[in-house]
């Protein structure tokens, strides 16, 4: 009897220790809001993307362009976003969602830029020598962009000992490449109160 009690007690102790010290991973929905440290997280990125997508396609710049260019859809290229906040933030997490909304809506055309465009041109160059004449792609036929999407991220931190308020402002703007005219500015403001 005593041995059984000892064995059960030992097993209980071992299971408690293993459960308390074990590393646990739980998969959650990406849209679920989980704020741990108060820093920039996936919820912030998702909120910014939703706000920008909501306004960018409904604004009048699309209609104005189509009126001025015989109904043709505007062509947008993505420029760079400047992060002037106090944290490392990668804008691609929400800018890519905006690009995706362009494609899905069909109202705006998107062209590739940056290093990916360099890769395309490298592939084109390779095809000049290695691909068949019927299948090789020609230089000089790229679609030129009408507008460039650029942005900035700013933050203000107000802290006092264990309490702080963090304010983020994300701005995206569309600029006419020909005329330098800014045709749309979108912004999303996020404020958090963090108490340690």
């Amino acid at each position: 009897m005593k041995k059984i009690i000892m064995a059960v007690a030992f097993g209980a102790i071992v299971s408690v220790i293993s459960l308390s010290c074990s590393h646990q991973v739980t998969r959650i929905d990406p849209s679920e809001q989980v704020d741990l440290s108060g820093r920039w997280n996936n919820t912030d990125s998702r909120m910014v993307a939703e706000e920008m997508i909501e306004t960018i396609l409904k604004d009048k710049w699309v209609g104005d362009h189509q009126e001025a260019h015989s109904g043709q859809r505007p062509v947008v290229i993505v420029g760079f976003v400047t992060n002037k906040s106090h944290e490392h933030i990668e804008a691609e997490t929400f800018v890519k969602d905006v690009e995706q909304s362009f494609i899905k809506s069909g109202k705006v055309r998107l062209v590739q830029g940056g290093k990916k465009r360099e890769e395309l041109r490298g592939e084109k160059a390779d095809q000049q020598t290695n691909a068949s004449t019927s299948s090789m792609k020609k230089f000089g036929l790229e679609q030129g962009a009408d507008y460039i999407l650029q942005g900035s991220i700013n933050s203000i931190v107000d802290s006092e000992k264990r309490k702080k308020v963090i304010y983020y402002q994300v701005n995206l703007e569309l600029t006419n490449i020909q005329s330098n005219e800014v045709v749309w500015i979108g912004d999303k403001k996020i404020a958090k109160y963090v108490k340690n």
Partner: protein
């Protein structure tokens, strides 16, 4: 050659027929940016990180704590390499039987040379130098001057 000619031809064509309101000195701007276009366009779809350090009481405290720990670790490593460097001329830690840590007792009790010869530290200390009678050498010029005067 054909590509160069085509570019030149298009440039000349643009020069010949300016668009409505186009600045005739557009070539200056074009020539400037043609040379640096590749480096500028490589920034497309990137995020330029120009962050600043915000004032955060807890983060600054944690950082100071980490710096103190790192400093103490470095100090331990240096002491392990070069010793404690506590040797001085006043006998407290010097090689003296009348010192605070008498010779022999710690060797016998602990069986190691951690307190050997009364030194609280390693004998290969960076600061461990042979004893030098500085009073003698410092007063030598005065003695020489007096001797010269009374010669």
């Amino acid at each position: 050659m054909i590509t160069f000619a085509a570019v030149t031809d298009s440039a000349q064509a643009q020069q010949a027929t300016l668009a409505a309101g186009q600045n005739p000195r557009f070539e200056q701007s074009r020539d400037k940016y043609m040379g640096i276009a590749d480096s500028i366009n490589s920034w497309h779809s990137t995020t330029s990180q120009e962050t600043y350090k915000a004032i955060d009481y807890l983060a600054d405290k944690a950082e100071a704590r980490e710096q103190r720990r790192a400093f103490r670790r470095e100090l331990r490593l240096e002491r392990a390499r070069y010793g404690y460097g506590w040797n001085d001329d006043y006998g407290y830690y010097s090689n003296s039987n009348a010192g605070y840590y008498p010779v022999g007792s710690y060797n016998n009790n602990y069986g190691n040379s951690y307190y050997r010869n009364g030194y609280y530290g390693r004998s290969r200390s960076f600061y461990s130098r042979p004893y030098r009678n500085s009073y003698f050498w410092n007063s030598l010029p005065l003695a020489f001057a007096l001797g010269w005067y009374w010669r």
